[in-house]
Every structure is written in structure tokens, then in C-alpha cells.
Subunit: 169 residues, 2 copies
DNA sequence: TCCGATAGTACGGAACTCATATGTTATCTT
DNA sequence: AAGATAACATATGAGTTCCGTACTATCGGA
């Protein structure tokens, strides 16, 4: 099934194993695309319940994972305009999700960090997805789980690389 | 590493194989979260190059995958307000990405479909990611590829289910 | 034919994004 | 050491977007 957002690779000038292999690779690309959208929509729903916009939730996630960091580096990381990020942080701070504190070492800089108080609400909302994943993972042996985790990690890394390449030029 | 957006599962009252297994499962959850963000950021960059907002690009993707469909069903699918979707379609139509045509059978209804003209631009922007995926997939044998594709498909399905569960209540 | 339901969109107020300007604070230059 | 320059975060304002509501057109049933 050819579609607007992806091509189907080269033509069928070869056959047999290579052909089946390409089918599998294409299937992965397709599934990955579907997965991407579904996770976006899940985040959208979660954000809606919490009164947090999609982009804001992305930022909150980045803050929670990449530790305390400055607004400017967060802006770079999230690919948004610094002035936009001020508004994002205003909303997150007002909602009690993060704090801003001046860096004592460099008083121009600000350190943004997450608060733990409201973490439970978020976990609660992702509970459905988490238990579904638990169930899916239960069907694999440990070697398979490691292969899967490694694949996901490398794919995320590939996404990061592709994003930076686009941002650079 | 405990963080705001996910817990780390039950305590360590068991050990050995079960423990390692839980570590693997957690690694998958973490990688999946990272992947979700990275793909969002990639889409954000791609959208920025095309002058398409994130949500609009999501809608375009949904239209391209789920064939011609009506604005209302698309609104349900994307989880946005119907009036908002009017604006989304206005922008996508103005940009030459989709067309709106009245359904002859039910003249209230509208069918939205993608145009193929500008597809190449999108493919071009995802070329970096696609070739990276190609490279990653090259490292797996066909059985592994099938396992991966199946896992991704089921995970996407889980995301869909979790989203619907949240939207329902 | 009349009436309620449905599909899509127009409208208007509130909120958001981003380019630019501003006020601090750090760093460089000489 | 002092002034110039750069970096950081945020204020400001114009343009855009979101969404609750209202409106028009059309369909299906009594």
C-alpha cells in the first residue's frame, strides 16, 4: 500500500529472500509510523486530562528525563523558540509541574526541574498503556526482550540523528 | 532511574530470573518513551520545513493511511474538536495537501483525500530516518525482523486501546 | 410533509506562537 | 580594571490558532 508519507522502496527487480526481507523492513517502517501516531494520540489524551498541551507535555517529559536544565538548552532540545518556551514553563510552573530556580553559579541562567507531587496523576493515566505493555512483554523470553529493547533504543537514536540533520541545514 | 512520567514497578521482593526479566521490560518501556519523543521531534522538524503544524501533519498522516474519510470521523480519530478540524483542513487544502469533495450519496458529508503532488517533498524529508532504519534492519535476520514488526504492531494497537479507554471515560 | 437528527462550517473571545526588544549578568579586550 | 560585547531569560505586540456556540443544508422517519 503506497501512501503519501512513505515510499515503498525500489522496484521488484530481484526476488526470493531479498524480496521477503524488504517486505519485512517495510512492515517495520509502517508499524513504526502507526506506533508514532498512536503514541502521539495517547499523549494528547493524557495531556487533555491534565490540562497540559501536547508540546508542554513533551517538554515536561524532556525535563524529567534529562534532569535539571536551562530553558535555552530545553528550547534547543525541543526544537521550539526560546520565547515560546517561556510560556510553556509559565504554564508548567503555574500547574505545579516544575520549578524555576536561578543558577547560583551563573545568575543569568535558570535551572528547571520537575516536582514529584503530581507524578502519581501522570502514572495513573499511563496505567492502561503500561499494563498492556506488560502483557505484550510477557509473551517474549528474555533474549527476545533484550533484542526488542535494543532495537527501540537504536531506533530512537536514529530519530534523534535524523532530527538533528534536518535542524542543522 | 525513576522519573516523573513512569514508575519503576513493584519492589524487589523477588530476585533472579524474574528480576532480570522486569529490568528488561522496564528498559523497553523507557526506550519506547524515548522513541515516542524522538519521533515527535522528527515530525516537528519535518512539519516546520513544510510549513505544517504538528497536529496538521498528524491529520495528514491519518488521512493518507485511513483512506478518504469524513471530517467528523477524522476529528474523532485525531481526538480534536470538529471546529478545529475545519481550520486544519483549510490549511492542508490551501497548501495543496488534500482535497475536500462532497459525497454524492449524502450531500451533507464531505470526503477528504490526499493529493499525490507534494508527496515527494515529504519522502525527501524522511529520507534520513528511512535510510537509518534500513541500516538498523540490515543487522537482523528475517525471523527477527518479523518479531520486531509484530511487536511494533501490537504496541501500536495497545496505544490505540489505551487512548480509547481514556477518551471514553 | 413536517420534524428531529446529523454533517460541516462561520463566528468571536481567549489563548498561543514567534520575532524583536529589553534588562541583567558574565566574559572578553586591551 | 573598565568598558564593550555576548549570553540568558523574559516582556511586548502582531498574527494565528483553538474551541464553545450558533447556523445552514441535508437526510431519515412518522
Amino acid at each position: 500500500m503506497s501512501s503519501v508519507l512513505s515510499d515503498d522502496g525500489p522496484g521488484p527487480e530481484d526476488s526470493g529472500a531479498a524480496r521477503r526481507r524488504r517486505r519485512s523492513t517495510t512492515a517495520i517502517r509502517e508499524s513504526l509510523r502507526e506506533l508514532s501516531i498512536q503514541l502521539s494520540l495517547l499523549n494528547h489524551q493524557v495531556g487533555a486530562r491534565l490540562g497540559i498541551k501536547d508540546a508542554d507535555l513533551d517538554c515536561l517529559d524532556l525535563i524529567s528525563r534529562h534532569g535539571p536544565l536551562s530553558p535555552s538548552s530545553l528550547a534547543r532540545l525541543a526544537g521550539v523558540h526560546p520565547a515560546t518556551l517561556t510560556g510553556v514553563l509559565d504554564r508548567l510552573e503555574r500547574g505545579g509541574w516544575v520549578t524555576r530556580e536561578r543558577d547560583p553559579a551563573d545568575r543569568r541562567a535558570v535551572q528547571v526541574r520537575t516536582l514529584r507531587e503530581r507524578a502519581a496523576e501522570v502514572i495513573q493515566l499511563y496505567a492502561g498503556m503500561n499494563s498492556a505493555m506488560e502483557q505484550i512483554c510477557a509473551g517474549y523470553d528474555e533474549a527476545e526482550l533484550d533484542v526488542l529493547a535494543d532495537f527501540l533504543r537504536r531506533t530512537a537514536q536514529a530519530g534523534h540523528g535524523a532530527t538533528e540533520e534536518l535542524a542543522a541545514r
